[in-house]
């Protein structure tokens, strides 16, 4: 027998064969026929993490890349495998064991067709979507529409990352107004270097995710911070806040507000000698245990933390590094890990 009828293997054996293939090989196999495509989820593909960057790159499990290319006539390398994908009507070139390119006349249309095809084929969710203003000419409206298409299919997006630079900063208010419809459940990364503070506009989040990570946000005010009360993780880099706003947040936490908060970090210029949460001494050099906390895929730690206590007895480590302009608050939990760090003294 020259051929081996793979679909006539016992169920478990077929599953084992499929499990030996990576996502790109599974995709190629799926192009054989509809019957072949139907067995793909046996490989355990429902657990795949499908993420996309702008409309150019789709990655699976952060390793296997499906690039969306502009139609071209020639192969990139003569040795590469090229075939026509009849199910989604595009040419595909396998450029490496972990990378392939599909070619489209309209990349934006191709991207949407391709990612939803992969999501259906592998029966997995699109877990993460990111867009940067520097590499994408995508408008925020297109981005939001696509986000809504995702949510229409799977109810939520776990991680969303969006960058507003000089090119698309005017779209920021529109994004903020509509961002709650995207139902980001795990982490929202915002890079808003191009967005200016606006005296009369106060930005608030209607449905904040569990983790909120922000970079360069002069528009971010005390009211915005208060709208993140249900967050587990808040990491703010250069927001439009001042020392007393941080003090107020810690006081609110002590009184029982921000009860879901497990970690808070903020980078700004602090006032020397001013207290935060009633503490003047915001470090304890004798505390040599680095407390490490993992929240989803994010790992944070505090060394030399001073202990602060909430009214209900819940404790947290706080640490202000004046020179790094960084304040950290890590709420104690049994799941925290510890690492002993020796004090280095210079004679």
């Amino acid at each position: 027998m020259l051929s081996l009828p793979v679909l006539r293997l016992p169920h478990l054996a077929l599953k084992e064969v499929l499990k030996c293939w990576n996502p790109i090989e599974l995709f190629t196999f799926s192009q054989c026929s509809r019957k072949a495509a139907r067995v793909i989820p046996l490989a355990g593909t429902r657990n795949f993490h499908l993420s996309c960057q702008c409309y150019r790159f789709i990655t699976i499990n952060r390793m296997y890349m499906f690039e969306i290319g502009k139609t071209r006539r020639r192969r990139i390398f003569e040795m590469n495998l090229v075939y026509q994908c009849h199910s989604i009507d595009c040419a595909v070139e396998i450029v490496a064991w972990d990378e392939c390119i599909s070619f489209w006349a309209d990349q934006w249309d191709g991207f949407r067709k391709f990612i939803f095809y992969l999501s259906d084929l592998f029966q997995c969710h699109i877990t993460s979507y990111s867009i940067t203003s520097y590499t994408s000419d995508l408008t925020v409206l297109q981005f939001l529409q696509f986000g809504q298409e995702i949510v229409g299919k799977q109810d939520e997006i776990k991680q969303l990352s969006i960058e507003f630079g000089s090119k698309n900063s005017n779209d920021f208010p529109a994004f903020l107004n509509d961002s709650n419809v995207l139902n980001v459940t795990e982490t929202l990364y915002l890079y808003t270097i191009g967005v200016e503070a606006s005296g009369d506009v106060e930005y608030k989040f209607a449905g904040a995710p569990k983790c909120f990570i922000l970079n360069h946000a002069r528009w971010f005010t005390r009211k915005t911070l208060q709208s993140l009360e249900n967050c587990t993780l808040i990491d703010l880099n250069s927001p439009g806040l001042v020392h007393k706003d941080v003090n107020e947040l810690v006081n609110l936490w002590k009184s029982g507000r921000f009860s879901a908060l497990e970690y808070f970090q903020i980078k700004l210029a602090f006032e020397p000698g001013s207290p935060i949460g009633g503490l003047i001494n915001l470090k304890d050099y004798s505390n040599r245990m680095r407390r490490i906390k993992k929240i989803y895929r994010h790992t944070y730690d505090v060394l030399e933390g001073a202990v602060i206590q909430r009214d209900d007895g819940q404790k947290a480590d706080v640490r202000l590094n004046f020179w790094e302009e960084k304040f950290k608050l890590l709420v104690h939990s049994e799941k925290d890990k510890f690492e002993y760090v020796e004090l280095i003294t210079i004679d």
Partner: protein
């Protein structure tokens, strides 16, 4: 076939602990008999349970008839038992959930599986039936490796996969062969489904 004339799988005596030195006799569906060590049998969950349930003594295995394995032929069973003897005493692997699954094919296994695809197909069925986890792993890995560097059109030939058009043609042919009245009913049902009707009746 008498035990004397039976093809006996080579056994590495030194590797078998003294207290485990018992050989079971199995017979394929084409009446070929094999003697297999107790330790080698442990690679097969199915056979291991079977011999445990039988509770044979050393005398029983000699005096009672060989245990029949009715859906595996001698050629395939010989490969299976050769594999089991070579890997006796090894731990049964547990799937670590890595994607893709990492499976190394040892040199012995590669040589053993240097066979035509028909026999490889039978070997996989046997490994599945006898529940020999690692033999199933390596044989399926060999099948998976056949896909390397192939286009979907080439894969269809390697794995004997009909195209969608061929599948539809086969379905039509099967319908043609059906009773014409049953076919009419089925076509009507399909038509109603297309029109979005909830109920046929």
């Amino acid at each position: 076939m008498s035990v004397e004339n039976a093809p006996v799988v080579d056994v590495d005596e030194a590797a078998i602990p003294v207290e485990k030195k018992m050989y079971y006799r199995f017979e394929s569906n084409d009446k070929k008999e094999f003697r297999v060590s107790e330790l080698a049998i442990q690679q097969s969950e199915t056979l291991n349970r079977l011999v445990e349930a039988m509770g044979y003594t050393s005398e029983d295995v000699e005096n009672k008839p060989a245990i029949a394995i009715e859906n595996i032929d001698g050629k395939t069973l010989k490969l299976v038992f050769q594999w089991c003897e070579h890997h006796k005493g090894e731990a049964i692997p547990v799937d670590d959930g890595s994607v893709p699954k990492i499976v190394e094919i040892p040199e012995f296994d590669a040589k053993l599986m240097d066979i035509d695809n028909g026999l490889l197909f039978k070997l996989i069925w046997a490994a599945d039936y006898l529940n020999i986890v690692q033999l199933l792993n390596v044989s399926c890995k060999k099948v998976a490796n056949m896909a390397q560097g192939k286009t979907p059109a080439q894969l269809r030939r390697v794995y004997l996969l009909p195209s969608d058009e061929e599948d539809e043609a086969a379905k039509r042919a099967a319908q043609e062969a059906q009773d014409p009245r049953a076919r009419e009913v089925e076509e009507e049902f399909e038509e109603r489904k297309r029109q979005g009707g909830n109920s046929f009746f």
